[in-house]
Every structure is written in structure tokens, then in C-alpha cells.
């Protein structure tokens, strides 16, 4: 009576489930992330690559918990926090999230401006144009369209592989550096390590991951497919990061060129690895920036509304969800204006949004750990002992790192 669709249905099922993990993993490598990787490659050569390994492990653990929570409860993380932690904590988290994400979105637009400057486009043209494009895509488009565009985007991030190979890296040295890194432990190198781990795990992403699995309507019995999606996403994140570090290490570090932002890396590559390599690097930066500039404000507006009980979602009309659209528009417009403001303190803005992110992360992660262990919420799908050991371990390490990073400036660098 039923058509024989065993194998095809399996493949179909996997493709249907594919998405949340991979997209989340790609959004991870946003303008701020690329900058961090590029700078670490330029300053420390291959010696910081090993930090990607712990990042990778922590990322997988956290995303697995998010996916499991979303699939089991069918509720967003913001909802769960509001219902179980009360208004005050929710308010603190989301005010912090809002401020940090305005800063982060600004960083994304800085990435758009910087990458297009490599191609000779002025930021006074590129930023308003991209801002308008992003706004239209979200307000007039559908989420499915956006998600498809994003998946294509995710693939194009692999352009960094091209950039890296054109720099003729020394593969042997890379191997040695991973197994036996030569790093002096001082406050600067420690900040770099924290930066690399921290840029892969941003607070808002936990919310994003959980919402996207709910959006997909995934079921717990297909969790192995979701797991594949998460692992593929995390691998993609780390692979892209690896090649960015390699691209900058094999060229800039060799020549001893220092950089401050990702755009500088693209420009510095030109004489060393050729114009093409430089343009490919800039293109990757552009894609990553526009990608995150779309998702970040959208996600932020969504979670703030979810937590405070306003209607939200791009399937709603403007009249149905005014708070959501107004908030989204404000975040976007503010970020664009800050970038276009002459002599805006961009470095300070990105630093402060990193600091707020760092303060938020432990709060969000601890809330998550408490929720995922709550039998009333998760039933039989609470964390297993091993998951708890790894989970709390990761949370402790992250909190330790964050605290270190925050108190470091007090003791002088």
C-alpha cells in the first residue's frame, strides 16, 4: 500500500533535518570571528591552531543540549528561561543580549564595509545598501527563502580554503604546531586563546540553535540525524577557522606583518599571495558579514519579544507584531548609523560587545544546564551523568576563561 521509499526517505529525512546546525555553525564565523582568527594567524603563526580542538568539543556539547531541549520541549530557550528563572533574571539577560547584539551587528557592518573597500567600494555606499537589502529580505521575504540563501552562503565560506592554499603553507609545520605548540603563556596570548574559544560560542547562538530545531519541527526519534547536522556544522566552523588562521600564518606571520582587522589581512595578502587570494579572502569576509548581519538583529528581536510575551516572527504582519519589527529595525538602523558616523570608536564598540557577551555567556550557560537537568521540563531526556560532567566542565572552563579575560585589564596587560 505504501510506496517503497526506505532509502530515499532516509536521505530525504536527513536533508530535511539538515540546516540548523550547519547554519548556526556558519553564523559562528562572522566578521568578529574572522578578525580574531586572522589576527591570531598573523601574530602567532600556526601556534594557536590547537585551541580550535577544545572549541570544537565545547561547541558540540552545547549545541547538542540546545537541540535536545528544543526538540523535547518544543519551546524556545527564552521561553524556558522566562518560565523558570523569573522576570528579573530574564530582564537582565535580555537587556544585555540587546546591547551586546547591537554592538555585534555593528561589527558585522564593519565587516561589510571593510570587505567591499578591498574591492574599492566606499562604505557610504555599501553599508546603507546592504542594510536596506537585509531589511527587505527579512520584512518582505520568507524564512525559507532566507534559510536557502544562508545554506548557499555557508558553502561559499569554503573560499577560505582557496586563500589558504594560495599562501603555500608548510603542512609539516602545521602538524607540529598542533601537537606541540610554541606559545609563551602571558596575558596577551591568553587573551588570544580566550578570544578564539569565545568567538565560536556567543550567547545569542544558543537561542538561535534552539529556535531553528523547533522551527523545523524535528522529532526526538530522528535525533541521530540532528546530531549529524550539529557535528557537520561544528566541523565546518572549525575547518573554516583553521584555514583562515593558516592563510594569515603562512603569509603575514612569515613576513612579520601586524594587522588590526580582517580587512587588513585581505589587503596584506595582495603582495604576498596575489590579488586573487586577497579578493577571495575579502569575498569570504563579505559573505560572512552579510550573513550574520541578517540573522543577528532578527534573532535578537525575536528572543526579546519571546521572553517578554510580544508577538514575533517574520511570518507575522507588521500590524500583528509591531514590537518585533520596530525592535528589529532599530537594531539594524543603529548599527548602520554607528558605522557611518565619522570616527566612530569601532574598536571600543567591538571590545565592549565582546565583554558583555563574556558576562552573559556564563549566565545563559548555567541557566541552560539547570533547564536541561530539570526532570519536569525534560522528562527522560535530562542529561546523563557523563553529559553533565562534560557540560559543567565546559561551563566552568568557559566561565574561568571569561573571568580571566575580564579581570586581566585590571592587572595591566
Amino acid at each position: 500500500m505504501f510506496k517503497n521509499k526506505k532509502l530515499w526517505s532516509r536521505i530525504g529525512l536527513f536533508l530535511a533535518i539538515l540546516g540548523p546546525g550547519i547554519i548556526t555553525g556558519s553564523v559562528d564565523n562572522d566578521a568578529g570571528g574572522i578578525t580574531t582568527y586572522a589576527v591570531s594567524g598573523a601574530v602567532y603563526g600556526y601556534n594557536m591552531i590547537w585551541t580550535l580542538i577544545p572549541s570544537f568539543i565545547v561547541l558540540i556539547i552545547i549545541q547538542e543540549m540546545n537541540a535536545r531541549m528544543g526538540i523535547v520541549t518544543g519551546k524556545g530557550l527564552a521561553d524556558l528561561i522566562r518560565e523558570n528563572a523569573g522576570v528579573k533574571i530574564t530582564f537582565l539577560i535580555f537587556i544585555g543580549l540587546l546591547i551586546a547584539d547591537i554592538g555585534n551587528t555593528t561589527t558585522e557592518f564593519a565587516g561589510v564595509a571593510g570587505s567591499l573597500e578591498v574591492f574599492g567600494v566606499s562604505k557610504y555606499i555599501s553599508v546603507p545598501l546592504v542594510g536596506a537589502l537585509v531589511w527587505i529580505l527579512v520584512v518582505k521575504g520568507t524564512y525559507q527563502l532566507a534559510e536557502r540563501i544562508f545554506l548557499i552562503f555557508s558553502v561559499s565560506l569554503l573560499t577560505y580554503v582557496v586563500s589558504a592554499i594560495m599562501g603555500h603553507p608548510h603542512w609539516g609545520e602545521i602538524g607540529t604546531a598542533i601537537v606541540h605548540p610554541q606559545v609563551e603563556i602571558n596575558s596577551k596570548s591568553l587573551a588570544m586563546m580566550i578570544g578564539i574559544v569565545g568567538t565560536t560560542i556567543a550567547p545569542w547562538m544558543q537561542f538561535y540553535m534552539q529556535s531553528s530545531v523547533i522551527e523545523k519541527g524535528l522529532e526526538i526519534k530522528n535525533f541521530k540525524y540532528s546530531m549529524i547536522d550539529i557535528v557537520v556544522g561544528c566541523i565546518a566552523t572549525v575547518v573554516v577557522a583553521f584555514f583562515i588562521i593558516v592563510a594569515c600564518a603562512s603569509t603575514l606571520h612569515e613576513k612579520g606583518i601586524q594587522i588590526n582587522e580582517a580587512k587588513d589581512a585581505a589587503l596584506a595578502l595582495k603582495p604576498l599571495a596575489g590579488e586573487f587570494a586577497s579578493q577571495v579572502f575579502a569575498f569570504g569576509l563579505f559573505v560572512a558579514s552579510i550573513f550574520s548581519a541578517t540573522i543577528l538583529p532578527l534573532a535578537t528581536a525575536f528572543y526579546v519579544c519571546e521572553a517578554f510575551g510580544f508577538e514575533a516572527g517574520i511570518d507575522k504582519k507588521w500590524e500583528e507584531a509591531p514590537e518585533f519589527y520596530v525592535l528589529y529595525t532599530i537594531i539594524l538602523v543603529l548599527s548602520v548609523l554607528i558605522i557611518l558616523w565619522p570616527n566612530a570608536p569601532l574598536i571600543a564598540i567591538s571590545l565592549w560587545s565582546q565583554v558583555i557577551n563574556g558576562l552573559l555567556l556564563p549566565v545563559v550557560l548555567v541557566s541552560m544546564m539547570l533547564l536541561v537537568n530539570n526532570k519536569k521540563i525534560m522528562g527522560e531526556y535530562v542529561n546523563k551523568p557523563l553529559q553533565n560532567v562534560i557540560g559543567w566542565g565546559a561551563v566552568t572552563v568557559l566561565i574561568g576563561l571569561t573571568v580571566t579575560l575580564l579581570v586581566m585589564p585590571l592587572f595591566g596587560k
Binding site: M1, F2, V72, T73, G74, K75, D79, R82, E83, G86, V87, K88, F91, T142, Y143, Q144, S211, I214, E215, K216, G217, E219, K221, F302, F308, G309, E311, A312, G313, I314, D315, K376
Partner: protein, 422 residues
């Protein structure tokens, strides 16, 4: 001393309670209401008990021994006597702080889910009652403790913070994780909503809540709601309902809709449900499942009305009264011969304006426009718009009537089901 005092739950939770001798009794932790309490002939949610914490112990007392007063705008609770509250009675109600505050509830007028920021109550001589829930920004700020200062500040600019209330009669709590079974059985208010609205609300709920709300609906309503749900939600419900319940709901749905849903389910589960369903319902569904996905047969409705050309108008009307068909079955009425082959159609209008003793053969339109069950779906829209039909008969190769395609199904197909996205 006024005869009534209104106050907010957020203002009372955490306040210290003293008795007549100024002895400290405890800190207010929560209020307990009986939602179905009858006062003066009307159902009103009465505050029946109060949860107090003193030192390390938390105790629940009857609210009869407590008085709420407002002095200079400050709310205080005084204790006259401590009457322990019967634990047994806790099954008949809900704690406001634990079960309603910060939870999602259904706003029956707005037909959507909202989050409760605060609860407004009133104390009158006959008791203390919950009046309304606050879902506005003001309630939020009050909870965070910023409402009063911010209001004063904004008054300088003549700006007021919008307050948004929904009266208690227009809400229905749906998050049963803090309720007992007895209460969740009694949400009659949800039944008043249109199935489409109810489906939208159910889609937005968490998984456990979704299931309990759906299970509490009566079968007719459940079937109507199931039809309106998105595929993901349909599958999630059917996977988690008992096979018996799933079969009961699906029996009440048109066979073509059931076939669509079962097509999405895993074979084993679908088979279990089909076996559980009544034979005639499941046979119809099985037949439809045979059709390929993009064929007319897979979306046609098998519930239609067919008559003999020798029937009189009166006979047909009598049969309609007896069968009480759904509205869409009346879009078009069919005439078949003894071999069930389609020969004509006639409309309800023609039927109603004709003399009772006229034969159907006098009002029918012979050789009607029809579709074949193996035709492709995308050919239907053209037909419907070209001939301005609400329903087109579907026949097989032998010209035997199999069902009909109703405009509603086609519209759904053309527009593509509205996607909720976040």
C-alpha cells in the same frame, strides 16, 4: 475603609504578614485560587488560600483569615487567624504565581497566546477574586521594580506607559505542567474558538502542553483542529497520542485529509492507526493512499452525494435532511446510473427552486465537466477557474464516479500551506 481594594499579585508576593498583636506570621509566597468557584450565581476565581514562608517552613492557610488593605497606596496583608488549608482541596485549583504568572495563556478575544506579566485582584466583602491578567509593558516594569519611578519620570514628558489587561473570563490557562488532571479536563472556553485559531495556538505551544490541550478537546473539535494544523504538528500529535485516540479523531475527518496525513507518518504507525479505525473509514483511506502524490485521486474528497435520475426533488431533499452532509458536499450533486457511472450533475440552487415532484432528470446538466483520478493536480486549477466550479466530479477509466475535487483543496495546494516561521 473602602468596600473594595484592588491590588497586583506582584505587589503582594514577598510582603511580610503580621497578626493583630504585630507578631510576624510569614512572607507571602503565593496565592491559591479556585477558578470555578460560584459567587452570587456567577463563576468567579476566588482566592481560597495563601502560601506563607516562615523561616524554613512553608505552610498553606485558608485565605478566610487574612485581610488585604491599602494604606497610602501601599498594599499590606494582615492575618486575623491561621486556619490550615485542607491539602485535599488543592486539587481543585491552581497557585497563581506557580501556574499562571510568567506562563503563556490563551487570550480568547485576541485568539492568541500571551504571556502573563502580572495579575490584578480585588478584595470585596464576599471574598478576594482574580480580576484580570496584565500582559502589558507596565506589568513587566512593575515586576522588575521600575514601574513607579519610570512612570513619574515619564509624566514630566506627558508620556504614559500603556497598560494592557485581559479580564479573567476571556483567558484560558493551557500550561498544565503545574495543574492536576482534574482542572485540565475543564477548559470549555477553548472549545469556543474557531478550529483555525485553535490550530494556530496549538502550534505555538510547547510539546507537552500541545498534547494535553489536544487530548482535552472533544473528538469533533479535535478532528476539525487536526485538519487545520501544519504537517509537523499533525505528525507530532499522531506520534504521541494513543493509537485508539488517534483513530477516533481521524475517523471524524474526510478520508482524503487522513490519507494526506498518514502518507507523512511512518508506515508502521500508519498501519496501526488504520487497523484501529472503523472498517469503512479505513478502506476509503487505503484506496486513496494507492494514488500517486501528484494525482487528482490523492487530493479528491470521497464524501459526495449521488442520486438516480429518476429521484424526485422531494426525495433528494428528504435524503439531504436525513444525511445532514457537510457544506462542501453540497457544492455539487451528482447523478449516476446503476453501474455508478457519472451521467450528470445538478446544483443545490436548481434543487431548491424546483417543484417538489419534479424529477432530477428535468433539472440535471448532462455530460458534465469531470476529471480523471490519474490526472495531474496542476491541471485542476485551470478547470476550476475556466468553468467557475466549486467542485468537480472525479471518475476512473471506466467513468465510474470516485469522488470530487473541492475548490478549498485546490486553493490550499496553489497557495501552499501558510508557513509559520521564526
Amino acid at each position: 475603609m473602602t468596600s473594595f481594594t484592588t491590588f497586583y499579585l506582584s505587589r503582594i508576593i514577598g510582603s511580610r504578614v503580621y497578626d493583630a498583636h504585630n507578631q510576624f506570621v510569614g512572607i507571602v509566597k503565593d496565592l491559591f485560587i479556585l477558578p470555578n468557584y460560584i459567587s452570587e450565581g456567577v463563576e468567579r476565581p476566588l482566592v481560597a488560600a495563601i502560601k506563607l514562608k516562615k523561616g524554613k517552613t512553608t505552610l498553606i492557610y485558608s485565605f478566610d483569615g487574612f485581610v488585604v488593605t491599602k494604606v497610602n497606596g501601599k498594599i499590606s496583608v494582615a492575618c486575623e487567624e491561621l486556619i490550615p488549608y485542607d491539602q485535599e482541596k488543592l486539587d481543585d485549583g491552581v497557585f497563581l504565581g506557580e501556574g499562571i504568572l510568567d506562563k503563556q495563556i490563551v487570550d480568547l478575544n485576541g485568539r492568541k497566546l500571551v504571556r502573563v506579566n502580572d495579575i490584578r485582584l480585588v478584595s470585596v466583602p464576599t471574598g478576594t477574586f482574580a480580576l484580570a491578567v496584565d500582559i502589558g509593558v507596565e506589568g513587566l516594569l512593575r515586576r522588575i521594580g521600575l514601574a513607579k519611578p519610570l512612570k513619574k519620570f515619564l509624566l514630566l514628558f506627558r508620556v504614559t506607559i500603556p497598560a494592557k489587561f485581559i479580564v479573567w473570563d476571556d483567558i484560558e490557562a493551557v500550561d498544565f505542567s503545574n495543574f492536576n488532571i482534574k482542572l485540565s479536563k475543564s477548559h470549555k472556553k477553548l472549545e469556543t474558538l474557531h478550529p483555525s485559531d485553535l490550530a494556530d495556538i496549538i502550534e505555538d505551544l510547547g510539546k507537552q502542553t500541545r498534547l494535553s490541550v489536544f487530548e482535552a478537546l472533544d473528538e469533533e473539535k479535535a478532528a476539525d483542529v487536526m485538519e487545520e494544523l501544519e504537517v509537523e504538528a499533525q505528525i507530532h500529535l499522531l506520534e504521541n497520542l494513543s493509537v485508539a485516540k488517534a483513530a477516533d479523531v481521524l475517523e471524524k475527518m474526510p478520508a482524503d485529509e487522513v490519507a494526506d496525513i498518514l502518507d507523512e507518518l511512518e508506515e508502521e504507525k500508519a498501519e496501526q492507526i488504520l487497523r484501529e479505525m472503523e472498517k469503512d473509514s479505513s478502506e476509503e483511506v487505503r484506496e486513496l493512499l494507492e494514488y500517486p502524490d501528484d494525482s487528482v485521486g490523492s487530493i479528491m474528497s470521497t464524501e459526495y452525494l449521488s442520486f438516480n435520475k429518476d429521484n424526485t426533488v422531494e426525495e433528494v431533499l428528504a435524503e439531504l435532511r436525513l444525511k445532514k452532509p457537510e457544506a462542501e458536499e453540497l457544492y455539487n450533486l451528482f447523478v449516476v446510473n446503476d453501474k455508478e457511472k457519472l451521467i450528470a450533475t445538478f446544483s443545490l440552487r436548481d434543487l431548491v427552486i424546483s417543484e417538489p415532484n419534479a424529477a432530477i432528470s428535468e433539472i440535471m446538466k448532462p455530460s458534465p465537466v469531470h476529471l480523471h483520478d490519474d490526472q495531474e493536480i496542476n491541471e485542476i486549477a485551470e478547470f476550476i477557474s475556466k468553468y467557475n466550479l466549486l467542485a468537480i466530479p472525479v471518475v476512473d477509466k471506466e467513468n465510474i464516479l470516485q469522488g470530487m475535487v473541492v475548490i478549498d483543496d485546490v486553493v490550499e495546494d496553489l497557495i501552499g500551506k501558510r508557513k509559520t516561521n521564526k
